[in-house]
Symmetry: C2
Subunit: 335 residues, 2 copies
């Protein structure tokens, strides 16, 4: 298994990215192609004593910056590490691609360089999220502000195949994110999507997943348009950050509370691990002809290693074969 990585994407690039790559070589037995400025990569490897065994370098002169227009990634002359990495993936130089860089650019680049599977309307972001009763996939979590009901139906099929193949969940429960459980809830898009999902025999549609229940793993696959999905993702993250920040403050407030921490350290540690989205890697770009993973922008070495593991599984578990089989026969008439 050979994974191509964007060595210059994310807040902690290139050092943490390369450390994560070295961890992945050691722990997962994969090979890595690190894309980016060759001299900079060599320098980072040497000065941080990173084990370079299993890591080869593919040179790319530029870096895709967060403020760059995502659409510029399409241009032939774009020599950013992200664009070069996606071209290497397209050309079969590796099995999957991982970047912690700009999500927008990765979606555009994936769609126009790697290309979508025939019949699939939209490239979607499937974020694997920690839930109270196990992880779930939230999809689309931000690629498509405007969606049709048919696109949401495809998200459901894609998410089901991913959760079954990669996370081993048999017959994953699909829920439509919504403001209530009843069938007629939400905007016309949601009423239409409900009707379509109900009539899709290859998925296990369980109805609306009310936003309040989503953190309790109301469904294994939660589908939504990209605007709503991103609002859910970010409200979830923000609320968790605010609450856990307060809990931390309480424990560090004084001597007695610091002592108290000792008594619940293991419980809190286990809980933190359960809720740590870094454990699950990143978000899978779905609908492309090859596996692309978006790692969190703030990824450290461990998070990036987990994203590489996710990319390897995405490839190994033949998710894309499953998507092609189920969706390539669909007409493209209402895109």
């Amino acid at each position: 298994m050979k994974i191509i990585i964007d060595a210059f994407g994310g807040d902690n690039a290139p050092v943490e990215i390369l450390k994560g790559a070295a961890l992945a070589v050691k722990e997962l037995g994969v090979n890595i192609i690190a894309v980016g400025d060759e001299n900079e990569i060599k320098k980072a490897i040497t000065s941080n004593s990173i084990e370079e065994n299993g890591i080869s370098i593919a040179h790319a002169a530029d870096i895709f910056k967060m403020e760059d227009n995502p659409v510029s990634i399409r241009h032939k002359g774009n020599e950013t590490s992200m664009a070069v990495g996606l071209r290497l993936l397209r050309d079969g130089e590796g099995d999957a691609f991982v970047s912690a860089g700009s999500t927008g650019a990765l979606v555009v680049g994936g769609t126009f360089i790697v290309k979508r599977i025939k019949g699939i309307k939209k490239t979607a972001i499937g974020s694997v999220m920690p839930g109270d009763n196990g992880p779930f996939m939230l999809m689309d979590s931000g690629a498509n502000i405007d969606c049709t009901a048919k696109a949401i139906r495809q998200f459901a099929v894609m998410g089901s195949i991913y959760m079954k193949n990669v996370l081993g969940i048999e017959n994953p429960r699909v829920g439509l994110a919504n403001i209530g459980k009843e069938e007629n809830k939400g905007s016309q898009l949601y009423i239409d999507a409900y009707e379509m999902l109900k009539n899709t025999p290859e998925i296990n549609f369980i109805g609306n997943a009310e936003a309040r229940d989503i953190p309790f793993t109301a469904a294994d696959v939660v589908v939504a348009d990209g605007f709503t999905g991103n609002i859910i993702l970010k409200t979830y993250e923000g609320t968790a950050l605010a609450l856990l920040g307060n809990i931390k403050k309480i424990f560090t407030a004084g001597t007695l509370s610091k002592l108290s921490y000792l008594g619940v350290r293991k419980g809190l540690g286990d809980f933190k691990k359960k809720m740590d989205y870094k454990e699950y890697g990143g978000a899978a770009l779905m609908g492309l002809t090859k596996p692309v993973i978006k790692a969190h922008g703030s990824s450290d070495a461990k998070a990036f290693k987990n994203a590489i593991r996710q990319a390897a599984q995405y490839s190994e578990k033949r998710v894309i074969d499953g998507l092609s089989e189920h969706l390539s026969k669909e007409s493209g008439d209402d895109d």
Copy 2:
């Protein structure tokens, strides 16, 4: 100050509602008109030894059930406690109305019985939410699935007046809920709303409030269409419930962890109070000619008392005069 209450709305009606009313009489010095079946109310008061001083009863034979069609509240023959209470408010029998019953029915009933202020497009739900840096109003949090940019602009003006008059926040910061900070983020509705908000001199518009920052009180007034607002509200509540449930489990897991609780009890208690939405009362229905408060469906006596306090402030602080002054001159042409 005389507050009309729906004695038969909410999960814990009528006992907790009446207990809350008695608390409000005692602590806030208000008078209460409790609407509902007279015999049932008298029985509940007697058998729970509720102090009836300051509480008068207005008879209503029926109860509005959660499964009833909200639109039925409009009908002249509707004798539910909610409909009768709203008519008493319309007829000037009290200064404000509070119900913990069906939100949908209260919005419809408020709009058609109490009526909107001239010039206001939509009745909106302004929920006062606990944030990490103080409470904020989320509006619309569920009344209007479909909104125009102009309606969102009115939510901003209404929310600003409420937060200034009732919570005493000078020059409240208004943020547009969105998936990113940049001006061009979101669907066309959000791009249009941004433009309108930017050009509304009477509010302090600070730009987009990214969903991740909303729990940190990114703005004092967060505006959104009702679908998105309700998704934010419910994701926020669900995430908080899931996390706090886990924290509780950790502390009750064994003897050592129970002992640990003693060391952080005060800190956790203060935090719980800060995050307890019951402290803030309920949600204000905005745009109506008289104050209507929706208390939480699960309100206990204390929560309902807080909702009564909120109703009294809504009336006393002349929020509706402010709304009329700012919005009654608007044309109704793009409703």
